[in-house]
């Protein structure tokens, strides 16, 4: 059981570290000052969450958080592929943030009432912070989705691109059944359906269309949960770990 739990914690922590790092790339680069601040703040929260999940792993016998975060190669990461893609244009980063944060919220809502108490406690705490992330996401999706033709087209194109990636958040692993049996979390598909219902309702308030799986136009980006990543993750890790690689004992 311990192994299944660790695999869940690792995928949570890795998702948050990687998307936190990506979002931090908007620092100083945001399209407007407010968005610069928003993406930087959300990155800070996400990396704080990642740290807490790595600490929980450490309490279960895994190495220290810094070792987990800074010494593994891409193939050791269990993050979904959605989070590793470059920030691209602002529309892509915004839509990714919308899809990811609603998925993360859905998962934490489930973990909050799950059977593993330390994870339930963290989930309750993080959900309070996450409300601001989803508020930010849905406000901009509604604003830009209902704005000019150019804005709508760009948002739609970002949604078409990011949704299949986001399906990969809910990739089943050999450990999923064990987690369900222990009452720690529901099936990934169940989580995905809850997430889809939530984002569909929000998208319905705009002229945007959520690509439909029935039309066969969604090919989920799978593999991340098993260590198979796009070519984008390793360069991110190399950059993120540059200082640590030079001097692992550096303090600042």
């Amino acid at each position: 059981m311990q192994e299944a739990l660790k695999s869940l914690l690792l995928s949570l922590a890795d998702d948050l570290l990687v998307i936190g790092h990506r979002n931090s790339e908007w620092t100083g680069m945001g399209p407007v000052l407010e968005e610069d601040i928003a993406f930087a703040s959300m990155a800070q929260d996400k990396i704080g969450h990642a740290l807490a999940f790595y600490e929980l792993l450490h309490s279960l016998g895994e190495p220290e958080p810094d070792i987990l975060a800074f010494t593994r190669q891409a193939a050791d990461f269990r993050s979904c592929q959605l989070v590793e893609y470059p920030i691209g244009e602002y529309d892509f980063s915004l839509v990714r943030h919308f899809l990811f944060d609603y998925a993360y919220t859905t998962r934490l809502e489930a973990l909050k009432s799950g059977s593993y108490a330390p994870l339930a406690a963290l989930s309750e705490r993080f959900l309070r912070e996450l409300k601001y992330h989803t508020l930010h996401a849905r406000t901009w999706v509604a604003q830009l989705g209902n704005a000019t033709e150019e804005a709508r087209l760009r948002m739609q194109s970002a949604l078409n691109e990011a949704l299949p990636m986001a399906y990969g958040i809910f990739e089943e692993t050999p450990h999923t059944a064990g987690l369900v049996a222990e009452g720690i979390q529901p099936h990934e598909q169940e989580l995905r359906d809850r997430w889809l219902a939530g984002i569909s309702a929000l998208i319905a308030g705009t002229p945007l269309k959520l690509p439909q799986p029935t039309a066969g136009d969604i090919r989920p980006y799978l593999g991340g949960r098993q260590g198979r990543h796009s070519e984008h993750l390793q360069p991110l890790l190399t950059e993120m770990t540059e200082v640590f690689a030079i001097d692992p004992a550096a303090a600042w």
Binding site: I47, A52, R128, Y132, L135
Partner: protein, 160 residues
């Protein structure tokens, strides 16, 4: 005989480095105080925002204040299993926020009051006719609002 209340009182000098008018005690961050028979103190703090960089500074200051007061050994631990929330800020703390120019958070239930995230009272004129401009501000705990009456932009300590 040293009591928990005595320790709490001592810790009132430790302020939030980003909000120097509010003490840790009033912020609701001092979760538990143990006074073992060996003359030492053990303090358990709960972190406010998960990514808050000020927490480690505050823990260090707590330790220093108690050492200076003659306690040994002094240990300070972070308890991440307890969820801090903004309803834990004391009346004194709310006054301190206002003194620092921050609108104190409304009393808030995260399960039923999502609308509270967008509501704030202007710290300059007291109006509640305000709009949320950005759910993120200069620190993780602040949001930016604007007052529709006095037109001032102001920061609110977020309800969480």
């Amino acid at each position: 005989m040293v009591t928990e209340a005595h320790i709490r009182n001592l810790l009132r000098v430790v302020k939030d480095p980003e909000i120097p008018t509010v003490s840790l005690v009033d912020m609701g961050v001092v979760h538990r105080i143990d006074l073992p028979a060996n003359g030492g103190v053990h303090v358990e703090l709960i972190p406010t925002f998960s990514g808050c960089p000020a927490m480690s500074v505050m823990a260090l200051e707590v330790e220093q204040v108690l050492r200076k007061a003659g306690f040994a050994p002094v240990t300070v631990a972070m308890n991440k299993q307890v969820a801090w929330h903004s309803n834990m800020i004391s009346e004194e703390g709310r006054k301190g926020l206002l003194e620092h120019g921050l609108s104190p958070p409304p009393h808030y239930d995260p399960n039923t009051q999502d609308y509270a995230l967008e509501a704030a009272t202007c710290p300059h004129c007291g109006s509640t006719r305000t709009v949320l401009k950005n759910p993120f501000g200069p620190t993780l705990c602040r949001a930016i609002h604007q007052c529709l009456d006095c037109q001032e932009t102001f920061e609110q300590f977020k309800p969480v």
